[in-house]
């Protein structure tokens, strides 16, 4: 591969890697939103929290794989606790109250990590086996980013199988579409809510540990990818996984090529994209019009 093509391909793959991790982060958010009608502002904070848990695990045990296993589960636990004890109580006061509750929790987590771990950026090294470069048709590409793409695709596959081939998945999809109806069919909807909340937060946790070696662990992590995740959900359509996937990829590529070709305005490209889509279709690319 010649140098120019290598650059394009390399940037493209960076974009895909980022986009896939972004999708992991955004998918939980959009599912929770579509099913429960709650936009969990604390979702990206859980993403960041998991990166911190991952850092701490590696700090104590030295094992990246253990961190990848433990941190997301711990984070998911926190997510479920928030859903059970805080969100549920506020549900009766309406969606705005729920939104504000998640805002409060996000503030607690954002500042809380500073209390425990300080304000500096903390490094998180990828595992030995995933370091270094690999040769793809003449292009030297970082193994770890390849790992990100593979991991995300794998989780995407598993998630798709669960959602579309199992009974639980069917119930979840039905609940995303019409939670009341599912309740009327005698299914324990609060349990379904809790499960989806837990799994969504877990995936954000995986995204957190996964991206940490590249972005490093810092209090700004939530904000960095958070904004993009919000845009993915809004533009992709609430509750739409397909929409989230597509928009995540677009955002990843825009970001990557944007930094390459329009460094000054890379950040702005995504906003313009969002404004354009919302002007034409306010409910998002794959969203459903609120009746």
């Amino acid at each position: 591969m010649d140098a120019t093509t290598a650059m394009y391909v390399s940037q493209g793959m960076h974009g895909v890697a980022y986009g896939m991790v972004l999708f992991l982060l955004a998918s939980g958010l959009t599912l929770i939103l579509g099913m429960m009608g709650v936009f969990n502002l604390a979702h990206t904070c859980f993403f960041m929290l998991s990166a911190y848990f991952g850092y701490q695990t590696i700090h104590w045990t030295g094992s990246y794989w253990l961190a990848l296993l433990v941190a997301p589960i711990l984070t998911a636990l926190f997510g479920i606790l928030m859903e059970r004890f805080l969100l549920k109580k506020v549900h009766a006061y309406g969606p705005i109250a729920e939104l504000i509750l998640t805002l409060g929790v996000s503030m607690i987590i954002l500042d809380g990590v500073k209390v425990v771990w300080g304000t500096q950026s903390l490094p998180l090294s990828p595992p030995q086996s995933m370091q270094g470069l690999v040769d793809i048709m003449g292009l030297q590409y970082p193994v770890y980013r390849l790992f990100l793409i593979v991991l995300s695709l794998f989780l995407l596959l598993v998630m798709s199988i669960i959602l579309y081939k199992t009974r639980l998945g069917m119930v979840v999809r039905a609940a995303v579409s019409d939670a009341e109806m599912v309740n009327a069919l005698g299914i324990n909807v609060p349990l379904v809510f809790m499960t989806v909340f837990g799994i969504g937060t877990w995936m954000a946790g995986v995204a957190g540990v996964a991206i940490a070696p590249i972005l490093t662990v810092s209090p700004g992590l939530s904000h960095q990818m958070g904004m993009d995740a919000f845009i993915v959900v809004i533009v992709g359509g609430f509750g739409s996984l397909g929409g989230a996937f597509l928009v995540s990829l677009i955002c990843g590529l825009l970001s990557s090529y944007g930094i390459q070709f329009f460094p000054q305005y890379a950040a702005i490209l995504i906003f313009v994209f969002m404004a354009v889509v919302l002007t034409i279709k306010p409910e998002g690319l794959f969203g459903e019009k609120e009746s």
């Binding site: 506020v90 705005i96 409060g104 503030m107 209390v115 306010p282």
Partner: protein
């Protein structure tokens, strides 16, 4: 409350306000000005939130635009008088709102809230990138505040903190009165109707999108005025002061904690907030953490905020009075 009692309370308030700087000094007078700015900002947000049911997570976009509007006007226009300088902030925000309103009224609920989060973020990035205009991270500052004057009649120097105190409070009170008045008009009824049941408003023959647009523009203009006064007070505006994430969050907190269903709620919230800040920043850096906890606790146990508590107490007092009356007549 009887009219005479109400007038007395206002008169006392006026006297306290007039004498405040003399007794409490410049430090606390500055805190009052900051409080007043936040109060106006929070009330402007509440026009949308508590009165029309629209939550924006990016209201900083209008506060910041007001601040930059006034700062840029003063930096680039020599001899600009004081009142136009203040107004230029409000006008800048209003113009921005008019441009965005057609897009924004088609979106509602969570999307509305998050769209504004993104917009505010966009303005933040813009302010950082356009260093030549906005001064980027360092910001704009060091401009002279023009005196309040009518040529030939009088001139009041605004560099004097005491004079500025009176001016700033006056401007904010006037803006608040305007907003209060709006809630008392027929349009104010349509606003709360839209909050309660937008469907019914539609079927009664009112255009919901137009209503939202007008509230939006008024709210933006008021936020712009707040930003204006703020930049005159601080004599500095930077990207973070103008469009930072917390700038959007604070008025939401103040409105919710103070009570979103009441016009004065956000003002109570701003006061609570100012006192909390004064008190906690002496002991800890982690103000945000405390704010988060306060927000969570309030939304779970006192969703109607201070205003709600006051209403409950009022109701309890009235029913107690009622039972005393009936006891009295029975015996």
């Amino acid at each position: 409350m009887k009219k005479s009692t109400r007038l007395t309370v206002w008169a006392i308030g006026l006297i306290v306000f007039a004498l405040f700087p003399k007794f409490f000094g410049i430090y606390y007078s500055n805190i009052i000005v900051t409080f007043a700015v936040w109060a106006l900002f929070a009330v402007s947000l509440n026009m949308m939130l508590g009165f029309t049911g629209l939550l924006s997570f990016g209201h900083a976009m209008y506060f910041g635009t007001g601040a930059y509007g006034t700062a840029l006007a003063l930096t680039h226009m020599d001899g600009l008088p004081l009142i136009p300088a203040v107004l230029s902030g409000g006008v800048a925000s209003m113009v921005l709102a008019i441009c965005i309103a057609p897009l924004v009224v088609r979106v509602s609920g969570t999307a509305f809230a998050m769209l504004h989060l993104a917009f505010a973020q966009f303005m933040f990035v813009l302010a950082l990138k356009l260093r030549d205009i906005t001064g980027g991270e360092d910001g704009l500052g060091g401009f002279d505040i023009p005196p309040l004057q009518i040529k030939g009649l009088f001139s009041v120097d605004m560099a004097d903190p005491l004079c500025f105190f009176y001016f700033a409070i006056a401007v904010i009170v006037i803006a608040l009165c305007c907003l209060w008045f709006v809630t008392k008009t027929p349009f104010g009824q349509i606003m709360v109707g839209t909050r309660d049941n937008a469907k019914r408003i539609d079927y009664l023959g009112f255009r919901v999108s137009h209503t939202k647009a007008i509230v939006y523009i008024i709210s933006a203009a008021a936020a712009g005025v707040a930003g204006s006064v703020s930049v005159l007070h601080q004599n500095l505006v930077s990207a973070n002061d103008a469009y930072g994430m917390m700038i959007s969050v604070f008025p939401i907190m103040m409105a919710m904690v103070g009570g979103a269903r009441s016009f004065f709620g956000p003002i109570y919230g701003a006061a609570f907030f100012a006192m909390l800040e004064e008190f906690t920043t002496r002991y800890t850096d982690h103000f945000e953490l405390i704010l988060g906890v306060v927000l969570v606790v309030f939304i779970m146990y006192w969703p109607l905020g201070f205003a709600g508590m006051i209403m409950k107490l009022k109701y309890k007092w009235l029913t107690w009075k009622q039972s005393r009356k009936s006891q009295g007549s029975a015996s």
